[in-house]
Structure formats: C-alpha cells, structure tokens
C-alpha cells in the first residue's frame, strides 16, 4: 500500500520452488485449489497475511485479489494483522474446559499480562482463543505454530513461556 515499504513481496527461492510444486498438484485449470496451502506458506514466511501478501498470492494463481481476501478472512488460522513472535492459540472449547482449561487460561493471561487478541509489549507473544484442536483427551491444550502443547498446568505454562522468552 505504502510506497516507502518497497521491500519486494516475494517467496524465498526455496518457497518459490515449493509453491510451483504445490500448484502442480491439482488438475489443469484448478490451480485455485492451491490457495490454502500457499496462504500457509506465506504466513510461514511473513508471519501474517497482509493485503500485499494476499495480492502476491493472487498473482501466483492468476485469480482476483478479492478471491484471496474472501478466503483468508473466512478461515481462522490466517492472521490478518501483524502478530508477535509466538502466537499462542489456546483451546477454549467445552471438553478442554472440563479438564481445567479455564483456570489455566486465566493463569496464562496473567503471566503474559495480555488478553485474547493482544500482543505483549515486547512483541514476543500474541494470544488467540481458538476452538477445539482435536486433542480433547489431552487438554488443556494450546498450539504455537505447528507444535501442540498438551496436558497444560499452571506450572507447565510457566515453563513453556519462560523457555520461549529466552
């Protein structure tokens, strides 16, 4: 949007190869199917999906930018705003709550000093509430990037946060 941020939006060379591979998975003319995988790939690189990044992805797939916006805003995994270094996605759904998720969540919020949707002032952590992560028997649970953290307790939370703060 702004002209001064002229850093070119482009996948790293490795990701460009990967993106080509992904697009080639689908039948002729169905390259739009690659949209979700590419958005994940983009988020991996830039941390969030800015309008510029989405426009870039639209270009790769030869689709209208609005088709990307519609999709990115539908799915909850895509961050539409900048986020902290670690995004903690905390499961707030019933089965986890039976396992004590609400108390641990209160502790986590206190520990980080932020509420859902916020980022710590040092930019290290963003907290997001999410729905069931398909780990109900191992709850309470949160996810940071690809990693699941299960059987959470207040103490476990302290350890994880301290480890990641380093």
């Amino acid at each position: 949007m702004t002209t001064e941020t002229n850093a070119k939006i482009e996948f790293t060379p490795e990701r460009q190869v990967l993106a080509k591979e992904i697009i080639a998975r689908y039948p002729e003319g169905k390259q739009k199917s690659a949209l979700l995988p590419l958005l994940h790939l983009a988020q991996e690189q830039w941390g969030w999906t800015s309008p510029e990044v989405m426009d870039y992805v639209a270009g790769l797939l030869s689709i209208e930018p609005v088709e990307v916006y519609e999709v990115a805003t539908f799915y909850t995994m895509f961050h539409l705003d900048p986020v902290g270094k670690h995004v903690i996605e905390y499961c707030r759904t019933g089965p986890c709550c039976l396992m004590g998720a609400e108390d641990v969540y209160a502790h986590l919020k206190q520990k980080l000093g932020i509420d859902a949707g916020q980022t710590t002032p040092d930019g290290k952590f963003t907290l997001k509430e999410v729905e069931c992560l398909a780990a109900c028997g191992m709850g309470p649970v949160f996810q940071i990037r690809e990693q699941y953290y299960m059987h959470l307790t207040n103490q476990r939370v302290d350890e994880i946060i301290e480890e990641l703060s380093k």
């Binding site: 759904t93 089965p95 396992m99 999410v130 729905e131 109900c136 028997g137 990693q147």
Partner: protein
Amino acid sequence: MGKKILLEHIDVPGIDTYDVYRKQGGYTAVEKALKTMTPDSVVEEVKKAGVRGRGGAGFPMGMKWSFLAKPEGVPRYLVCNADESEPGTFKDHYLMKHIPHLLIEGMIISSFALGANKSFIYVRGELMYVIRILEKAIAEAKAAGFLGKNIMGSGYDLELVVQPGGGAYICGEETALLESLEGKRGNPRNKPPFPAVKGLYQCPTVVNNVESISTTPWIVNNGGDAYAAIGIGRSTGTKLISASGHINKPGVYEIELGVSVEDFIYADEWCGGIRPGHKLKAVVAGGSSVPILPANLILNLANGDKRLMTYESLSDGGFATGTMLGSGGFIVMDETACVVRNTWNFSRFYHHESCGQCSPCREGTGWMEKVLHRIEHGHGSLHDIDLLVDVAKKIEGNTICPLGDAAAWPVGSAIRHFRDEFEWHIKHPVEATQPGAVYRGEMALV
C-alpha cells in the same frame, strides 16, 4: 480384550515408519486387492462388511460407494475427510499421527475400488505436523512402489495429495470441504446435486472419514463377512471412541460395537471410571453436536435395559431419551460440571463456526449464544428458556447443512434434561455466578 482392527499394532515401536508397518503385514491388502481383486469385488466386500461412516452420519460406506456416478471420460475423486473438528473428537488425529500408513493403505484400496487416480486427504490446517507425517508416509509408500504410475504392474495409477484446511469446523461438512479444497470459502453447497454426481471440480466424488477408510485394509485381508461378524446387528465392526472429560483415563479406545456404556465408562480397559471422589452426571456421547444425556439415561434405556455402544442403542428412544453415536466423541461430566456453562460454551462454538450463508444458522446461533451467555452470567429470565427452545426449533431442519441442527440439538437437549439447572441459574443469579458454582439440586448422579 476386544478385537482390535485399527489399533492392533499401535504399541509396536516405530509403527509410524514404512518398514515397521510393512513388517506387521502392512500393504498386503494393497497387494491382494490390486493383484487378485477387481474394483467391484472390493466394493462388494466393503458392502458385506456393513461398515458405516465413522465421521458422524453413520451412512453405510459400501452403499455410498455404489452410488458413485461413473460417466465415461470424467475423472472420479476420493476425498478423505480428516478435518476432525467436532469438539470431543480426536481419534483421527491419533490414528494419523501414530499409524499414518494405515490411512495411506486404506486410501490406495479405496481409490482403486472407486477408480480414482488422484485422491485427496483434507486435514485440518491446525494439524500441520500430522500433514508432514502423512506426506512422509506417502513418500515412503511411493518409494516402495505402492503409489504412482502402474502400481505393482497392475496398470493402476494413483497419486495422493494432502491438503491443509485453514481453520474452520464447517469444512468437515463434505460439500464445504469440497469448496475449500477448490480454494474457496467453506460454504456448504446446496444439495442436490450430491457429491456422488457432482463433487470435487463438478466430478463424481466420494467423501469418507479417516477411520472409515482405514477399515478397508482389514476388510480386504479378512473379508467383509469377518468384519460384519464383529459387533451387533447393523453396528458392525469396531469403532474408535475419543474419551474425554472427568474420567480416569481419557484417550482413544477401539471398542467392538456392542460394549455396554457402563462397561465403557467403568471398566479398566477403557475409561477406568469417574475420577476418584466424584460421580457421573452427564455424557455427550458422540461429539458436541449430539444430545446430552443425564447419567441414568446414558447408562440405561428408557425401559431399563443397559444401553450399548452401538448406533441403534445410543439413539434408542429418539431425542426424548436417546442420543447418537455420532463421531464417537465421548465427553463425560461429573457433578462438578455445569450444564449451563457447557451449553453456552458449545453454543459459542457453533456461533463461531457457522459459515453464515443461511439466515437461521447465521443469526440463530448468535442469538442462542447471547441468551445463554446472559443466563450463565446471571442476567437471564425464565422466559429465556422457552425462547431458546423456540429458536433452536426454528433453526433445526431449516438450514442448508446440518450445522444448524448440530447447533440446535445441544441446546434443546440440555434444556430437556437439565431444565431445573437452567432455572436455578436464573433464579439465583448471585449464587450461580460464584466461581465454580454448580447446581447440586435433585439430580440423579451415578
């Protein structure tokens, strides 16, 4: 010990690798199917097995396969539904993580039976680490010659693609899943046409759950009749149950269909009973969408017989006194659980997950959540209870996809069986909003 079909080798170290899986007899079903059977004879065995869809609806898999349209010159697709997002359900996650090759082997057999040359596994995006496990397993299977062109010289080609979702429960609904797989918003489609006629890319498509597809190697190896011999009546075979909540041993269990609910909750082999010092209050037996039942009704049918873990027994009595097996997400609550809070929580889930296409679900789920939130937080009125029942009724059956029903049932059933608890919340707003406060009125605990 019950028969294990899917989890037979779960404890074998390294079972997630090709070599170990192969040593345990893995991929022999692919060899048997591709070398000695025709696609139709595989379909026939699956039909005989009577295996019912494990994703929630329980539709017989063989029958679904036989409905697949087969117009000349049009590709057909098999899509595996690994979107597993129904609260209380985590069996597919477990299975794919620990024995990825079982699903891959099942995909090869099922794709062969359906005549699909490119098949997809749609995995919820949150499980990116499982996607990497599956991709590794696919590479291994391909290196071993079980995927790719002309598999084992049979002339059959197959390519498997693992597709990530993006965070949307609704993409578990099969037509929403197909939309998502086409790179669109996960809006369920109007039906007809059904996927069997116009599915992925408008081509005939079968969508099946991870667990359903994973039964096919065993069925091919042992025959459909052997599978049908397990279980009771039309509930054949085994089922993975995701057990969570206030039990001693939460986890994923493979049961022969027909185990009694009581045994499942109390036997050491499975849940190991309610946690010490507590009593059973209620169970949501098949994932958050199915009606909640109080202790006495989940253990026994209305006529006093023991309730069994089968499709038929769990739904015995209709919604008045029964529930559904659904996806097998077995959520157990003891007397410390607040039904009102849990209902609000589930309601928030459906509100959050509604795709927003059709008005009863889009507006009704939000309305129910707000009213329940009010009740839970001490601002309810007695009329709200009837209002909730009425709103749930106006959503149910009137929407494009069953998410509307899934949102309505938990609310309707909670009020049906725990009305006094709702009333208590409304009449005692101060008491009810104390931390940890739970209604302890006249309630049958077991």
